[in-house]
């Protein structure tokens, strides 16, 4: 059992909790209504912090949460259990956290792009910009790929070919990044949806679809194996510390291809951690510092590398800015997005 202890997550004493529940509730439930004040900050964190992953277990977001949670737990001195709460493409879990009490007791790992898309296309009525962001953990560019033996060697080849009609794009469900990048590149496409990135990429390898756009981490192995060929980077070129940097070395970026600075940065995949709106500033800061400490921790860097993760930390204020600017950028494409999603 010591193995589990290391993760720092809680083993909820279900029955014990049940026995003392009425007593605790008498205490905890009554002061729930008090507004944000210094009192809350002094006590923070008084109890466990639940870390919601709005996707099923086993993916990138899940891995990040499970690597960071124990570090937060060490730093804050409480348990940080991770709970998967998947649904509606990552919206269900965030919506749940959005509605929790603003006391920093629930945090969620998410991505600005899907939040912006959800609110622009009417999937969600919430304004996700109101979320209090406590930091960014990572950012990764997306890559446009074709089959390795495709006749297209550059994105210009695709643009030229697209004159003859839309290209078939394999997706794991249409996302804003596909719609906006291809619109800006002037490449009309027909979407062939799949159950996930791996099936979509396999369709490109089979030659059943012509092109795909996925995060670098998803396509890197395929490129290395000689199954896929990268044409364009959507986002910032990866730094040297990224083990996948080599497979996209020298690949042009969307910003270069379209002449629009900062477009790629708004479309690439940021992974941010956030908590309920209107959380007292001091709690947000406390969480932000705790995350920052986690990223300075020597042991954690090793864990990152072992788990194949490339950290790109930002503090609360900067990360809040990323969320806001992503929403702002995507709002410029509101018509295009709602058209593509609703026809």
């Amino acid at each position: 059992m010591h193995v589990m202890g290391r993760t720092g997550t809680s083993r909820t004493p279900v029955l014990a909790a049940l026995a003392v529940a009425p007593v605790l509730c008498a205490v905890a439930c009554s002061d729930g209504a008090s507004g944000g004040g210094d009192e809350e900050c002094a006590d923070y964190p008084g109890s466990d912090i639940e870390f919601i992953v709005p996707y099923s277990a086993g993916g990138g977001f899940d891995t990040w949460a499970r690597v960071i949670a124990p570090e937060l737990a060490d730093d804050l001195g409480v348990n940080v259990p991770v709970a998967n709460r998947d649904g509606a493409g990552g919206i269900t879990g965030v919506t749940e956290v959005f509605g929790t009490r603003p006391d920093g007791s629930t945090i969620v790992i998410t991505e600005p792009g899907i939040l912006a898309t959800a609110q622009l296309t009417g999937t969600s009525d919430l304004d996700f910009a109101e979320l209090d962001v406590v930091g960014r953990v990572a950012v990764g560019p997306e890559v446009i790929v074709v089959r390795a033996d495709s006749e297209w060697d550059t994105i210009e080849d695709v643009q030229a070919a697209a004159g003859g009609g839309p290209v078939l794009m394999g997706t794991g469900g249409l996302a804003a990044v596909n719609i906006i990048s291809f619109d800006e590149l002037g490449i009309p496409f027909e979407n062939v949806s799949h159950d996930g990135s791996s099936e979509a990429l396999l369709s490109v390898v089979r030659g059943d679809t012509a092109i795909a756009l996925f995060p670098l981490a998803s396509v890197a192995e395929g490129i290395r194996a000689g199954d896929l060929k990268p044409l364009l980077l959507v986002g910032t070129p990866p730094g040297e510390d990224n083990p996948d940097a080599d497979v996209v070395a020298g690949v042009p970026t969307l910003d270069e291809a379209t002449g629009q600075d900062g477009l790629g940065a708004a479309l690439e995949q940021h992974r941010i951690v956030a908590t309920a709106p209107d959380t007292p500033q001091c709690i947000v800061e406390s969480l932000s510092e705790s995350m920052a400490a986690a990223f300075q921790d020597d042991g954690l860097v090793g864990d990152f590398q072992e788990a194949g993760l490339v950290p790109a930390h930002m503090d609360a204020a900067e990360a809040q800015e990323v969320l806001q600017s992503t929403i702002d950028t995507l709002t410029e494409y509101e018509d295009l997005l709602s058209q593509s999603f609703e026809g």
């Binding site: 589990m4 997550t9 891995t63 499970r66 509606a88 269900t92 396999l202 192995e221």
Partner: protein, 503 residues
């Protein structure tokens, strides 16, 4: 290849690896027994548990959990009629019928040996195809997936309960439920009635558990009352296990057919185990000389699905090894487990160091032998469940099921859905609508529709009839649909007389 396998075997037998394998087997069996919480879900929950282990130990542990949960799942299917995992659902039908006849031990013996044979044949086929894994996997595209779904639907729609009329209605209702969620063409919400919960569609686990467990639990509580499910068989349980083994050997044709079906279905992403089990069950019933015994405790009805859902894991390894593409939930979680341990699983796996491949293969196989041994030794003790008075067992199972279903996704509405389908299952049973047909339609509906649209977009309608594998599958479907009546007409033989089944 033999060298590779034996060195991988030696690796896994070097202390303390066997300890982790054994630990994984025990955990896998336990979570397998829990209704709803299957291998994939449990593996995901256990990934953090492996952070502190050596990578090879962690992988062996996770693989052991994933590989053995199906064997645990058959125990709950047979003993309490609650499928431990979707691939075990088909086992419930005849397995639980056997339990009610006091033949639980025989059913468990047959299921366990079926699993072992299925796993073995699946692995042998996998190793035989491994050199051509890329070509094999690439040969299956949208038209083939569509035909696989169609064939599965046709094979199982023959199990139509009261009448063909009602069977078709049940199948269509299952398809309609499968269409709930984001549509596969544009990703627009459909039939979600403004509820985010329905966006991802109706999850199969709550439906399955509700349908199969509801009616049985109600009967157990109200009808059996103070009695247990069955009395102890004369001569004790242990002797009956060997009956199960002999039945498996006697029905070697079912074992072979089911293994091939399972292996083939392994290539279908996402739903392979469940698909394999249902299709194998349907095929066994179709080809049996006494199909009327199915549903009443036919031992082939236990052997077929359990053989197929283990053989399927051999097929499922192919896309994983060749392209790093998971053939199912368990492989998906395993891949991310590999990643966490710094093993980049992807298309390079087969081209690079083959050792890890062989370790995976052996680790997928070995734990199931261990698990089979444990089930045979200890699982029989679990038949004591069948002697607990029904009106205490039923609420206890209901409570355990409720908590397990919730634990799977932290979603209270999943529990509500399970409850709804308990009532639906009871009504369907009572009014003669086949639950089996409904559930297979639900399982296949998504694949059916999405592969239809994918084919139309990429190949056009001709894609269905110009590709050899798709054509072959279509032929199977047509044969399954029209074969038996035509054959019977040719033979001009009356339907076989009812066979009294020992009760």
């Amino acid at each position: 290849m033999i060298d590779g396998l034996s060195s991988a075997f030696a690796d896994l037998m070097t202390w303390p690896s066997p300890l982790y394998l054994l630990l994984g087997v025990v955990v896998g069996l336990v979570v397998g027994v829990l209704p709803g919480l299957g291998g994939g879900g449990a593996m995901a929950l256990l990934i953090p548990f492996t952070f502190a282990m050596e990578p090879s130990h962690g992988i062996a542990f996770l693989m052991a959990v994933g590989a053995t949960s199906g064997i645990g799942g058959q125990v709950s299917s047979i003993l309490i009629s609650v499928p431990g995992d979707p691939p075990n659902a088909a086992t419930t039908i005849d397995g639980f019928a056997m339990t009610k006849q006091g033949k639980a031990a025989e059913a468990m013996g047959a299921a366990t040996f079926g699993s072992v044979f299925g796993a073995t044949i699946g692995m042998v086929l996998m190793l035989a195809v491994l050199p051509f894994a890329r070509e094999f996997v690439l040969a299956f595209s949208y038209p083939e997936f569509f035909m696989l779904a169609l064939t599965g639907l046709v094979l199982v729609s023959r199990l139509t309960g009261d009448s063909v009329h009602k069977g078709l209605i049940a199948a269509a209702a299952g398809l309609m439920v499968a269409f709930v969620g984001l549509d596969p063409v544009n990703g627009n919400p459909r039939f979600t009635f403004e509820s985010l919960y329905l966006w991802d569609g109706v999850d199969i686990v709550p439906v399955l558990i509700g349908l199969f467990a509801g009616a049985e639990l109600l009967a157990l509580f109200s009808h059996r009352g103070e009695q247990g499910l069955a009395a102890a068989p004369p001569g004790g349980e242990a002797s009956r296990v060997m009956d199960g083994f002999r039945a498996t050997v006697r029905h070697w044709r079912v074992v072979v057919t089911s293994s091939v079906i399972g292996f083939g279905a392994g290539i279908v992403p996402g739903i392979s185990g469940t698909l394999a089990a249902f299709v194998a069950y349907g095929q066994a019933a179709r080809s049996s000389r006494h199909p009327e015994r199915f549903g009443k405790g036919a031992v082939e009805g236990v052997i077929a699905p359990e053989t197929a859902n283990d053989a399927d894991k051999g097929g499922g390894l192919l896309p994983t090894l060749a392209f790093g593409i998971p053939g199912g939930v368990i492989m998906a979680v395993l891949l991310s487990g590999l990643l966490v341990h710094g093993v980049p699983a992807g298309p390079n796996l087969l081209r690079g160091d083959l050792h890890i491949v062989y370790v995976l293969v052996v680790a997928a196989f070995l734990p199931r032998l261990l698990a089979a041994g444990i089930v045979l030794l200890l699982g029989m003790k679990a038949t004591v469940l069948t002697r607990i008075r029904g009106d205490i067992l039923a609420p206890a199972i209901a409570a355990v099921t409720l908590l397990s279903v919730y634990a799977l996704r932290n979603e209270p509405l999943d529990v509500v859905l399970t409850l709804i389908f308990c009532y639906v299952g009871y009504a369907m049973e009572r009014f003669g609508f086949s639950r089996l047909t409904f559930i297979i339609a639900l399982v296949l509906g998504g694949l059916f529709e999405s592969s239809y649209h994918q084919t139309m977009t990429t190949f056009g309608a001709s894609g269905f009839v110009t590709r050899p594998i798709a054509l072959a599958l279509l032929a199977v479907a047509v044969l399954a649909l029209f074969g038996p009546p035509v054959a019977r007409r040719l033979r001009r033989k009356p339907a076989p007389a009812d066979v009294e089944v020992a009760r």
